[in-house]
């Protein structure tokens, strides 16, 4: 029993010893590695296999070996160049033969297609021909260029420093400090006009945040149809309808598009019992007719995909979905705020009018908006 035990530990010791040898051999001792590989069943660690294999033997191309093939390749290359010439001429001819006729959109298509084909042929002919030439016919013996050392010699470096010193002395850049400082000042001032010009792209004399916070809606403005500007009667808006609305007088405004971008409204009528109206907004709708800003609170796309059965409003850009039943709260998508509601009522003649402007800024967030 004891004998068996000792022999067992002996075997274990030898095997682990052998393993240790083979492990170390991988790192340093080469001869023992050869021994362990000869013994079999143990890890074989070869010496560092990475050595410069040199350039592989040069393989000649078909065109190098067979003059007939070389002739063929030559023919292919000049044919491609001639094709390119043909393409250029074809493009000029096509431009004349297929003019754009302003009454016929199909003529634009023909003009573009044939002009494009000609120019493509002209450029691709040159490109493919040149590459084919280089690959099949140009000399292709491999050669080695040894890279130069990056660092210059000490004399060159010393001379470079000397040149800087000479330049400084000759120009007086270090000595005449007034000239130097005024030059630095000029360079600093140079970009300033660009800053002022960029500011000039924004609204003049008014705070941009003030302009973003208000639209042209005001109390008593009639809701009118986009684009005709005709006023809308409450009785005209049947249940399930969606009217695209602009404020009265927008078409005559000098900055019509800027105003429309903020004031566009979608008018919908749903069953009044479907609406969940929060406190303070009881008189903002008129018998189930509600008006919401059409400008998405995410990045300002027009939200106008109204589903008349589910009462969902979908923004086509990023799929933000607003629930008209619950004051356009966000039920899906990246928008963070509900669409602002325009408070409306009817005037003495039954036309829909705004009670006031939107009570919060419409559209996406901006710097000053919390």
């Amino acid at each position: 029993m004891a004998h068996d035990e000792t022999s067992g530990t002996d075997v274990a010791a030898t095997s682990s010893g052998a393993g240790g040898v083979s492990n170390t051999s991988g790192r340093a001792v080469e001869p023992s590695a050869a021994v362990s590989s000869a013994s079999g069943g143990l890890a074989v660690m070869t010496t560092d296999g990475l050595s410069d294999p040199g350039i592989p033997p040069h393989r000649k191309r078909i065109t190098d070996l067979d003059p007939k093939k070389a002739k063929g390749a030559q023919r292919a290359v000049y044919t491609l160049f001639y094709l390119s010439i043909a393409g250029s001429i074809f493009a000029i001819a096509a431009y004349m033969a297929f003019p754009i006729n302003s009454d016929d959109p199909g003529s634009v298509r023909l003009n573009t297609v044939f002009l494009g084909l000609g120019i493509t042929l002209a450029l691709m002919g040159i490109g493919i021909g040149a590459v084919h030439w280089a690959k099949t016919l140009m000399h292709d013996e491999e050669g080695v260029d040894i890279r130069h050392p990056v660092r210059s010699s000490d004399e060159t470096r010393a001379r470079a420093v000397e040149i800087f010193h000479e330049g400084n002395v000759e120009s007086g850049f270090g000595r005449r400090s007034l000239i130097r400082n005024s030059l630095i000042g000029a360079l600093v001032a140079f970009p300033l006009p660009a800053v002022i010009l960029f500011r000039g792209l924004g609204p003049e004399g008014e705070s941009p945040s003030e302009l973003l916070s208000h639209t042209m809606w005001k109390a008593g403005d009639r809701l009118t149809l986009d684009p005709s500007g005709l006023p809308v009667k409450a009785s005209d808006v049947t249940i399930g309808s969606a009217f695209h609305i602009i404020p009265e007088g927008l078409n005559d405004a000098p900055d019509r598009l800027e105003q429309k971008a903020k004031a566009a409204v979608l008018l919908m009528r749903v069953n009044p019992s479907d609406l969940n109206v929060s406190a303070g907004r009881e008189d903002w709708n008129y018998d189930g007719i509600v008006a919401y800003s059409k400008i998405c609170t995410h990045v300002g796309c027009p939200v106008a995909l109204f589903e008349q059965q589910t009462h969902h409003l979908l923004c086509p850009c990023h799929q933000s979905t607003f629930d008209v039943n619950n004051e356009c709260e966000v039920i899906f998508g990246p928008a963070k705020r509900p669409l602002p509601q325009l408070p409306i009522t009817v005037d003495g003649e039954g036309y829909l009018v705004a009670r006031s402007d939107f009570l919060e800024p419409v559209g996406p967030s901006f710097w000053e908006r919390s």
Partner: protein, 263 residues
């Protein structure tokens, strides 16, 4: 053997063919005569008969969901005031009767003939008045395509795509493609607002404006796109997929060719 051949020769070889042709002409002609008198009858027939036929069809095919008196049920909306236009649209395009419940009723081959559809429409309109089927002059594509285009971009393009190619809505619903759709159905859809489409009544988009929109859609349909391949007019998804597969594919192929050693 000889007798049979003599017997066969008594008739001209083509006699059988002629006989069959005459027989076919008689039955076919008779059937055509009968059916043409039938249509003539239905055109002339008093509307009362049409309404009665519509009533029977409605009871058999629609009343399960929409109720015997158009009052609707949990399975289908009430049809009071929808008018003939809505019935003609829903039944004429095969959306109704519904094949199964789903996000929205799908277009499929219509289940009823034009006469049966007209009868159903007449029956529904007789119980509760609503928008009528448009006349031919209302849907003629002789309007102002420029005005129609502007109205289409303001009122329709956000769902149906600026080229009328259709688009996705929420939760599996979609706005269908408008090219190839009968002008009558376009008009009726605007008037009645089928399913999740909003209603565009005559105060919102006047009948002339509706005709202009139809004119614009027909113009789009009949004129090729100036930009070349439309790729379904679906915008960045189709175009991006095309350029990723074919554009990048061409670049990869050229790169492989450029760097491969010549044989």
């Amino acid at each position: 053997m000889a007798r049979t051949s003599r017997k066969a020769n008594r008739r001209h070889p083509l006699a059988t063919v002629v006989l069959i042709a005459i027989g076919l002409a008689f039955t076919g002609g008779g059937y055509a005569l009968f059916s043409s008198t039938a249509t003539a009858d239905s055109n002339v027939a008093a509307s009362q008969a049409t309404v009665e036929e519509g009533s029977k069809l409605f009871a058999a095919n629609c009343a399960t969901c929409h109720g015997m008196n158009l009052e609707g049920s949990a399975a289908g909306p009430n049809l009071l005031g929808v008018g003939a236009a809505s019935v003609d649209f829903q039944v004429g395009t095969g959306r109704m009767p519904l094949a199964m419940q789903g996000p929205q009723a799908m277009q499929k081959p219509p289940q009823f003939t034009e006469e049966q559809t007209a009868a159903l429409a007449a029956y529904v309109a007789s119980l509760s008045p609503g928008p009528a089927v448009p006349t031919d002059s209302q849907i003629a594509d002789t309007g102002d395509a420029t005005n129609g285009g502007e109205l289409f971009r303001i009122n329709c393009a956000m769902c149906h795509n600026v080229a009328g190619a259709g688009g996705a809505l929420t939760e599996g619903k979609f706005a269908p493609e408008l090219t190839g759709v009968d002008s009558k159905y376009v008009y009726e859809a605007m008037l009645s607002g089928p399913q999740n489409m909003p209603v565009f009544n005559d105060h919102n988009i006047t009948p002339e404006d509706k005709r202009d929109i139809i004119t614009y859609l027909k113009y789009l349909q009949n004129n090729p796109s100036p930009g070349g391949f439309e790729l379904g007019n679906l915008g960045p998804v189709a175009e991006g997929l095309f350029i990723w597969i074919f554009g990048i594919g061409a670049v990869v192929a050229l790169t492989v060719w450029l760097t491969a050693k010549s044989n």
